[in-house]
Subunit: 225 residues, 2 copies
DNA sequence: ATAGATTTGTCGGCTATGTTACAGTTCCAC
DNA sequence: GTGGAACTGTAACATAGCCGACAAATCTAT
């Protein structure tokens, strides 16, 4: 099913660009493919064999639940991102799942073990992959140290700036972001309470720095953030 | 110089255990070797060619300085740990240095580019290394989410527990840790102010959970942490 | 032994942010 | 279109932990 499609999906990712047709086929053979709609929950750790996923379309959030049942947003995954057992070590105890944010998503996946085989046969891919994981690590470090050392307002600013950079569409000197997050989501991402987030967003709106709605966020002057 | 010694140093690390004599020699040829005393500062990013370091003896802390001149402790490196450009991407803008904590340290290092070559020739090493970096990432994630969601007291407890696990010596039912950190260091690691750390430590001492001195920390009952 | 530097102890005021609580809005399904 | 669910707005109150300030203890070098 979709054999060609999957091929191109993987081919599309910068990590796999250097691979030959045959090599990608190796992954494709066992590749899973899945579509899902807004609000759906996709479990990936625990369940069956450990996999690596590639989000082809839409947005999802990775949510972790701790012992007390508190939910934390671990990551927002966008079109083109890899997620899952990126460390190549299945860890069963982490209690994470993915929730679909956009209207619908398309995900393809392959088995971690197959990927390992591929890496063993392609040292240069292994190297790129290591760098890829390293980059991810660096990003995480960065965002965490932001969370720790800055106050909620700065964190929100930084978050909006990053978001705008990744997904915003520049229209004249404004930046328009499609807003698929609730204020609660935003609050969780910047690690603050929903109320504080609401307050800060409203403050920014009265200041004229942003125009907020459930559909989109318009940043009137990105340089002011 | 020390050719044999360096060989064994590298050989000793679990990552390199599977390598042949020749392969390690490849790294050794350009390996640097260095000793330093307490308080010394070792710059590693910026400076010359990007390197990966292996701490053979002692303890160091990795300190980052941000734009405003604030120091944050990024990591505590112990005997046997690798540090430096582990992501295989030299990044010049990060302003980090290492400071020697224990009385003296021994460090050996090799060039990132040589290591890359080695990885390219050893797919299985590449794979282990990828997993190694992945593990590091997981640890970082973990400790950061601790920092964010728990209060200072819990963080201190967790820190002591981890420290005891890594380096503590069990004597009867007590755990003794050699204390090479100042209270200020501890405060920075658990991301709180020096005063709060002091207060919490004293509180624990009056509670009888620990016995604190500049030389060592004794945890009277590890199970209570 | 002495002086200076570093580390530790303690206090009170201050502020950002979490919490609780409730009301108003928007969205969606039937 | 209507009812219920999910989301957003606002306020009062509590508090953890930061900050400044200073004193006491301990280490280090000469």
């Amino acid at each position: 099913m979709y054999e060609d499609l999957k091929y191109w999906y993987l081919r599309d990712h910068k990590l796999f660009r250097t691979l030959s047709f045959g090599q990608i086929r190796q992954l494709c053979i066992i590749t899973g493919f899945k579509k899902a709609k807004k609000g759906e929950i996709i479990y990936f750790s625990s369940s069956d064999l450990p996999r690596i996923f590639l989000l082809k379309k839409g947005n999802i959030k990775i949510v972790a639940v701790d012992e007390d049942g508190n939910e934390t947003i671990k990551d927002i995954i966008q079109k083109g991102d890899l997620f899952g057992e990126l460390t190549l070590e299945a860890d069963s105890q982490s209690n994470e799942y993915a929730k679909v944010l956009s209207d619908d998503v398309a995900i393809c996946s392959f088995l971690m073990s197959d990927f390992e085989d591929l890496l063993l046969r392609n040292p240069s891919l292994a190297l790129s992959y290591t760098k890829f994981v390293g980059l991810k690590m660096k990003r995480i470090k960065n965002s965490y140290s932001n969370l720790i050392s800055k106050d909620a307002k700065t964190r929100l600013f930084q978050f909006l700036k990053d978001w705008a950079e990744k997904e915003g569409k520049k229209i004249e000197d404004k930046v328009v972001i499609e807003n698929y997050l609730t204020q609660n989501d935003i609050a969780q991402i910047i690690c603050t309470s929903r109320q504080t987030a609401t307050q800060l967003l409203n403050e920014m709106e009265t200041n004229g720095t942003i125009i907020y709605s459930r559909k989109e966020i318009i940043i009137t002057d990105i340089s002011k953030l």
